[in-house]
């Protein structure tokens, strides 16, 4: 399975958020690095079909990103998301299961599994509005996995997670990345150090560098800074 972005561009009024980016994502974890405002979120929205590119195209094994078939294999965690106020953690996952088309039986089974996986068993029945930032983020990660996605796109997934939760998240993603396409965006280099197989570095809407994680050497942070500096 391959997710192909071909010369995609997105412009907002006088700002080019994504500038003629081309790449191919395959099985494994790809880390998308870039400072705030580099265009990471816009790129992720383009890959999820939320935004249509001004030019270029995104497809996966011949499927366009706007199709139901594509959304069926997609798991997405947005940077900023909310919850209906009356929802408990479990209600939220059951609701997302319904929107993702899971049967009632599958929805209950997957909800239970994922609640355990993200460590929310004790608070699954509590209202989401009482959750901490980290708990909400874990719930967001759980909903992205409800439909056993083949493509998992996560925008700043580690935001709000404490160090222990970060480690648990890394382990989870490393396991998932063996079988599916995972794209993670972050501006924290250490988030990707141990889990990314490939890296993409963005600045001002442009793809500065892409390649294997190993090319970054031991000190990924220094490598990232050097690449960012090259453009100046």
């Amino acid at each position: 399975m391959e997710l192909i972005a071909d010369r995609i561009t997105k412009q907002y009024k006088n700002k080019i958020a994504v500038d003629r980016m081309s790449f191919t994502l395959t099985k494994g974890v790809t880390g998308l690095l870039g400072a705030n405002g580099a265009g990471k979120t816009t790129l992720m929205r383009l890959l999820c079909g939320i935004l249509a590119p001004d030019s270029g195209s995104v497809s996966c094994d011949g499927m366009s990103v706007g199709t139901e078939e594509y959304r069926d294999i997609l798991g997405y965690l947005p940077q900023d998301f909310g919850f209906y106020p009356e929802f408990s953690g479990k209600d939220f996952l059951l609701y997302m299961s319904a929107v993702k088309g899971l049967t009632k039986k599958d929805a209950i089974r997957k909800t239970q599994e994922l609640i355990e996986l993200v460590g929310l068993r004790d608070s699954a029945g509590k209202k989401v509005r009482t959750y901490s930032g980290g708990m909400r983020q874990r719930l967001g990660i759980a909903q992205a996995l409800l439909n056993d996605p083949q493509i998992l796109i996560m925008d700043e997934p580690t935001a709000g997670l404490d160090p222990q939760e970060r480690i648990r998240f890394r382990n989870l993603i490393s396991g998932l990345g063996q079988n599916i396409i995972v794209l993670l965006s972050t501006h924290i280099v250490s988030d990707l150090e141990h889990i990314a197989d490939r890296l993409m570095i963005m600045k001002d809407g442009q793809l500065l560098w892409q390649g294997n994680r190993s090319a970054g050497g031991e000190d990924l942070e220094a490598f990232y800074i050097s690449k960012i500096g090259e453009k100046r």
Binding site: G37, I50, A52
Partner: protein, 242 residues
């Protein structure tokens, strides 16, 4: 040879052969882990049914209270102004459509199999159908208290409701707001307009204008359909901020 016999013969000639090694094929799929992917997906009917329980409870409450109020006011006053209350029913349906955006769920719903478009359509359909059904019951109940025929009471109730729904949908399409305040104001303004109309045009509810009311009803239904269709099409790409 009659047609039935020809068809039977054709079916026999064109019968698909029994599948060979079907079991082996499926076992192979299983072995390669290809059947572990969720094969079953709910259909649109089941999706619609499940969405029913996710419509805001306040919408059902507001609908019930308004329908009771309309019935009560019609019982006490057989003037024409109780008809002007029906635009307020549209508040529920219009505010409900902005719920995903208000609670920042739109982006998540947009990337799910049934998509934000289906979620919004399902909610509009469910609330619309319940409100219309409720209004039809009210029309049937209040009809004996008026000197008008059933069809005229139906038109006098439905036209203001549809007018508010149409203007609200056009407003929401052009100025999507998280609070839905604009739609609420539009519904109240429509209500006020229909309440004041008999005082400006005293012959409005006379029988000779029934034809005009009928035309207005048909036109409103058509325009509402077109407006909702355009609204849903425009939802294909929600505009997100950077």
């Amino acid at each position: 040879m009659d047609n039935a016999r020809i068809i039977r013969h054709l079916k026999e000639i064109c019968r698909a052969p029994e599948p060979e090694k079907k079991k082996t094929f499926f076992q192979g799929l299983e072995a390669r882990g290809l059947t572990s992917r969720r094969p079953e997906v709910i259909n649109h009917g089941e999706f619609l049914l499940r969405q029913f329980f996710y419509v805001g409870k306040w919408v059902w409450l507001l609908t019930a209270v308004l329908l009771l109020c309309i019935t009560g006011i019609c019982y006490g006053n057989t003037e024409n102004y109780p008809f002007a209350l029906t635009p307020l029913l549209a508040v529920g349906i219009l505010v409900e459509t902005g719920r995903s955006f208000r609670w920042k769920m739109a982006e998540l719903e947009y990337t799910a199999r049934f998509s934000l478009r289906s979620v919004m359509l399902a909610r509009m359909f469910l609330v619309g159908i319940v409100e219309t059904a409720g209004l039809l019951v009210v029309i049937w109940v209040v009809r004996p208290w008026f000197s008008y025929s059933l069809s005229r009471v139906f038109l006098y109730m439905m036209v203001p409701y549809l007018a508010a729904s149409l203007s609200g949908s056009v407003y929401e399409r052009k100025n999507r707001s998280h609070s839905g305040l604009g739609s609420i104001i539009i519904c109240f303004m429509s209500s006020g307009l229909f309440a004041a109309a008999p005082y400006c045009l005293s012959s409005l509810y006379e029988e000779r204008f029934t034809f005009i009311w009928t035309v207005a009803f048909i036109l409103l239904i058509l325009c509402l359909f077109i407006s909702v269709r355009r609204w849903i099409c425009e939802l294909e790409e929600p505009v997100w901020n950077l």
